[in-house]
């Protein structure tokens, strides 16, 4: 019924009824891979939603006009891998300023909370955040005060995890598990069980183990649609011979396993990424892996990670695709990462700067490059929440008398 109403509303619009736009972003170069757009277009917003994307939308119909000439206009970016619980005992950051300043309007916490701590995490962090915050639940996180060293998820925990995921379906995307030499398959298997029972995705975090184990992980254990990170880690068994990528990688991708960047403090190495990209191993999704250990050195904010990949040879459209439509698909939120009419108005206005720039990787090695992506303005649910370049601000001398000041 609701769908029908929406359809009727759009039909009325296309029949020529003009709307008053709350916000009109004019003259920007729109890159919206989901809808195949890569050209100069205007974007109009009414309330919380995208009202129209088109050529030469009339400024006279807008209450507020932003001139984005010279900038790229994209769907609000989606960072599917970050650590955003500043109150926890871990390495989490404050969500809003570490996302919105970088064009990210949807961020996914990659396992700061376990099922037993999800409710307070939601109440204290998710519900307070301006950024849309979603989550993978850590399957190995212990209930209550139990020690987390070598914790094993018991059957009862899986039932509780499934119940939590079902109750908070709006926020929980699935389960996170670490795969390393020291652990058995158990954490991953539990994550897969819980995800299967709640209809979620598994995000596996590779922390280094033998090649047999990696092959088994990507060819047998992970299901199509499950996500493996970090793709450009030096701990990948193939990282030592990146000039001859093993066949099981392409086989895994054919199966539908998704490979994510997940930069973070230890997950991104130029010496792995550069040759891998040359051979066409492009991550399905680009994410920051941002936490307290990576926000300053090596600098893992999402636009920074995108800039690194740009300078390693990805195109602008490729990095936007991997932080919008691809990311939305990976987390099964196809309504996100798009500028289509009716979608929630999450928008990033990005500047592609040209000059001499340098970036560090997880090994603190430097890449110099000529491009840098910087977020100038961010719109979340129709509201301007970040405006570094003052595109939405009036000059103070034109502002007239301030109402409380003569």
């Amino acid at each position: 019924m609701r769908r029908l109403t929406l359809l009727l509303a759009f039909a009325a619009l296309s029949a020529g009824a003009q709307e008053i736009y709350d916000l009109l972003i004019k003259n920007g170069h729109v890159i919206d891979p989901k809808n195949g757009r890569n050209e100069r277009l205007d974007v109009a917003v009414v309330g919380r939603r995208i009202a129209k994307v088109g050529r030469d939308l009339p400024a006279a119909c807008a209450r507020n006009v932003i001139d984005a000439g010279g900038y790229y206009v994209t769907p609000g970016l989606i960072d599917i891998h970050a650590y955003l619980d500043p109150n926890g005992p871990g390495r989490g950051l404050n969500p809003d300023h570490n996302t919105l300043r970088h064009g990210v309007t949807t961020a996914v916490d990659a396992g700061s909370a376990g099922w037993s701590t999800f409710e307070p995490f939601k109440r204290e962090v998710i519900d307070q955040a301006v950024v849309r915050l979603l989550a993978f639940v850590d399957i190995t996180a212990p209930a209550g005060a139990r020690s987390d060293s070598g914790a094993r998820a018991e059957e009862s925990d899986i039932a509780a995890a499934v119940e939590t995921a079902n109750r908070y379906r709006q926020h929980i995307l699935g389960f996170k598990a670490v795969v390393s030499d020291s652990a058995e398959w158990q954490p991953l298997e539990r994550a897969i069980q819980a995800a299967a029972r709640s209809g979620g995705v598994v995000m596996a975090h590779w922390q280094g183990a033998g090649e047999d184990r990696y092959r088994e992980l990507v060819l047998e254990r992970l299901r199509p649609g499950d996500i493996l990170a970090p793709i450009y880690s030096r701990l990948n068994p193939w990282a030592g011979y990146p000039n001859a990528l093993p066949a099981y990688l392409s086989e895994a991708r054919r199966r539908g396993v998704l490979f994510d960047v997940g930069h973070g403090a230890a997950g991104f190495w130029f010496r792995v990424a550069a040759p891998a990209l040359e051979q066409g191993l492009l991550a399905d999704t680009i994410s920051s892996g941002l936490d307290r250990d990576s926000v300053m050195l090596p600098g893992a904010t999402l636009t920074n990670v995108m800039s690194k990949l740009l300078n390693l040879g990805m195109t602008l459209e490729q990095v936007i695709e991997r932080t919008t439509v691809n990311a939305a698909r990976a987390i099964r939120r196809p309504e996100l990462g798009t500028l289509e009419e009716g979608a929630e108005a999450d928008i990033a206005v990005l500047a592609l700067e040209r000059g001499q720039f340098a970036f560090l990787d997880s090994g603190r090695a430097k890449l110099t490059g000529r491009l840098r992506l910087r977020c100038a303005l961010t719109v979340r649910a129709g509201k301007v929440v970040w405006d570094h370049d003052g595109l939405d601000a009036e000059d103070w001398q034109e502002a007239g008398p301030y109402s409380q000041f003569k």
Partner: protein, 407 residues
């Protein structure tokens, strides 16, 4: 044998290269030492080892080419929010990214919550976190607590200062919406008992029974800090009738009252700031009032606040003085903090003065365009590189072989 060899080798390296780090060719601004020109800065064992016109590059294990950059003492931000307050942020990803190596939490914790603040924030941060303790026992938890005169205990507060003397540098009173002088007098009483200054963030409306004039000229002591100087609601620094700086503001300054910027989301207005600055009424100390709202709306970090001061006529040298040695003096931490003097802990910031067109916003989202912006490119805390936006301290990946984490 191997055990013996390693320290021996270490000694040999140290013997040949006495410095861990050398910042070479930068323009050093170290107002405490009267330096404003090219100098080299050498660091050893986490401390400033040498500040001299030229230090031989072979003397250091890592040399950073600082040509074209400004090198200053790590900035000291005496007004930030990293505990207790609803908009609190974490210290490191806010301060260290913008050149501040010392921040002072302005009243997040009171005597009831200070132990928790110390354990969960101060001891977990790389940034040096100091504090102004709130006169309210529960700290900055909102109006219900901040208006509770019964929870403003000067003795308990002074006791907490003595217990945490290494990190508490003063008292804070803020947001009191009741009438009369009780909150401010109790804070000053605690300040007297503990021998520390008081920072006052006071809303003065017509019905509070308080006046700015009396506060600045009679109630506050020399050395006490009036924050949010370019706000228009707490003290009318600028007369609405003639646009002049109030005579009592000048008089208070002569008395020794400290005027702090406390930029924040709501406390920096172009009409106030432009008039005050044009008449030479500069803030004594530049500080951010950094919190969840201000970091997004006005970008009130130290580098940005300094850029705004420069846009309104302050020289870079003066701005650095008011962001390093002056705040260190105001909180009683000079000469330990705010200088590049040899022997001090090596807290250092490197800045680039970028040219272009940049937008600066005030509390009401009005912008002023400027042609310069000070941008932090590197922060060193206790001799260790905490932030390096340009990769100045590290080698190119193509020349690093099968590198692991590089030193």
């Amino acid at each position: 044998m191997k055990r013996l060899l390693v320290p021996l080798l270490g000694c040999a390296v140290l013997w040949g290269q006495p410095y861990d780090l050398l910042l070479k060719g930068g323009h050093v601004i170290d107002p405490a030492n009267g330096i404003d020109g090219p100098q080299d800065v050498a660091v050893a064992a986490g401390r400033i080892a040498r500040l001299a016109p030229s230090v031989d590059a072979s003397q250091a294990r890592k040399v950073i080419d600082a040509r074209g950059l400004y090198v200053t003492p790590g900035l000291v931000d005496i007004h930030a929010h990293v505990f207790g307050y609803a908009g609190s942020l974490l210290p490191d990803d806010t301060a260290l990214l913008t050149g501040a190596t010392t921040i002072v939490d302005a009243g997040g914790a009171g005597w009831r919550t200070f132990d928790e603040f110390r354990r969960t924030v101060i001891e977990r941060s790389r940034t040096r976190v100091l504090a102004l303790i709130n006169i309210v026992g529960w700290g900055m938890l909102g109006p219900k607590y901040e208006d509770d005169v019964g929870d403003m205990d000067p003795k308990k507060t002074a006791e907490a200062v003595r217990k945490h003397r290494d990190v508490i540098v003063g008292i804070k009173t803020a947001h009191f919406s009741g009438t009369g002088w009780t909150a401010i007098r109790r804070a000053i009483e605690a300040g007297k008992l503990a021998g520390v200054p008081v920072m006052i963030d006071d809303k003065i409306f017509t019905n509070t029974g308080r006046s700015s004039r009396q506060k600045l000229l009679e109630i506050m002591r020399a050395g006490d800090i009036h924050t949010h100087v370019f706000n228009d609601r707490q003290v009318e620094i600028i007369s609405r009738f003639d646009g002049k700086v109030q005579p009592y503001a000048w008089e208070a300054r002569r008395r020794g009252v400290i005027f702090d910027l406390g930029h924040g989301a709501g406390s920096f207005l172009w009409p106030v700031a432009t008039r005050a600055m044009a008449q030479g009424f500069y803030p004594d100390t530049i500080s951010t009032d950094l919190h969840a709202t201000s970091i997004l709306a006005t970008e009130s970090d130290m580098a940005n606040a300094i850029s705004k001061m420069m846009l309104l006529g302050m020289s870079l040298r003066e701005a650095i003085e008011r962001s390093t040695v002056r705040p260190a003096q105001v909180i009683g931490r000079y000469p330990e903090l705010g200088t590049l003097s040899e022997g001090r802990e090596a807290d250092i910031a490197l800045f680039e003065l970028r040219r272009g067109v940049f937008a600066y916003k005030d509390a009401w989202k009005k912008k002023m365009l400027g042609t310069e912006r000070l941008e932090c490119v590197m922060t060193i805390r206790a001799g260790r590189i905490a932030f390096d936006a340009k990769g100045l301290a590290f080698p190119d990946w193509r020349e690093a072989g099968a590198y692991e984490v590089l030193p």
